[in-house]
Amino acid sequence: MHDPHIILILTTLLGAVGLWLMLPRGTHRGRSVGIILTAVALGAGASQLPYLGDWLTESIFGVLAAVTVVSAAATIAFRNPVYCAIWFGLTLLGTAGLFLFAGAQFLAVATIVVYAGAILVTFLFVLMLAQPEGKAAYDRVSWEALLSAVLGMVFVGVLSMAIVGVFTAPREAKERPVAPPAAKELAENVLVPQHVAALGTELFGKHLIAVEVAGALLLAALVGAAVIVAQGKMEEKNERNAQQKRD
């Protein structure tokens, strides 16, 4: 059992079954089994991850990754959509932590500001106004839970096998596209202390046109959203006006 492929295949299958059991299926049966299976799969998968060379790094990454993945699984498995949103918030926090850990300070805070601070809260709002009592009947069932779980996990398995294969198989080690950067290089470029300044220079230098395009996209989206939402209200208003005229 030292072939990582076999372990990964098993992990994938275990994860698929576990997730299928965890997904809302209109019944609570097998849920705890699903949780255990998924946890086992997660542990087995994690055991195959390479060592990061430093116990502090390893443990920090481990905690962040575990928070991210577990809360992501909880997001799709919980029946109550409000809980889904909260778990997704935790996923976001975990991702932000991973960003920070990878040296992307700005992205970490930007994720929290934009995703957690604005998008998710707005969605929570809509959720609470639409379903103030929590879960509805359609939250207790899924569409083709087994099929989508197997499909998704097979996708994950293939991806991770590819990743593991690329970086572990000795024969491909020779064809490694680039060498990993040295710490010194990193400190001068991606991990500079003036991170934001460097990012800004890059963004508004090299990618200026992209920024402008993104700005235009934002504007278009804003206008589009306003039009979509206002459409219903306009109809109402027109009707009311017509009514008043008739009166």
Partner: protein, 148 residues
Amino acid sequence: MSPEIALLNNYLIVGAILFGLGLIGFMSRRNMIVMFLAAEMMLQGVSLSLVAWSRFRNDFGGQMLVIFIIAVAACEAAIALGLVTTLFQRSGRLDIADWHALREANQPAFVDEPISEETSTEEPLPTLARAGVAPQVPPVKTDYRPNV
């Protein structure tokens, strides 16, 4: 294996898992907002890979792309929210299955499978006992003068 490669490896795998979980959620869940959250989760997975590559490549390009992803996600959120609210106003539910009328012509209609009623573990909310019918009481005489 050098730590940098190991880090990249780990980030990519976490990213892949996030993407896969998002995929599963988007395919299986029926609540429009939960579906949207799953979609966002897929974006998170991609962002994670990009940041890892950015670091591995020692290049800001990946982080740039993530910034744009966040921008696009914000646009997406605005429009999706608009759509969801409009759809909710029309059907009164957040169920995506309500919109199966928009399917293609040769597709069968969606039939909701019956699910068993969930037994609530909570004690029932206190309610007032049903009040009875008011008795017919003869009107009280208000004058106390004897019949003189």
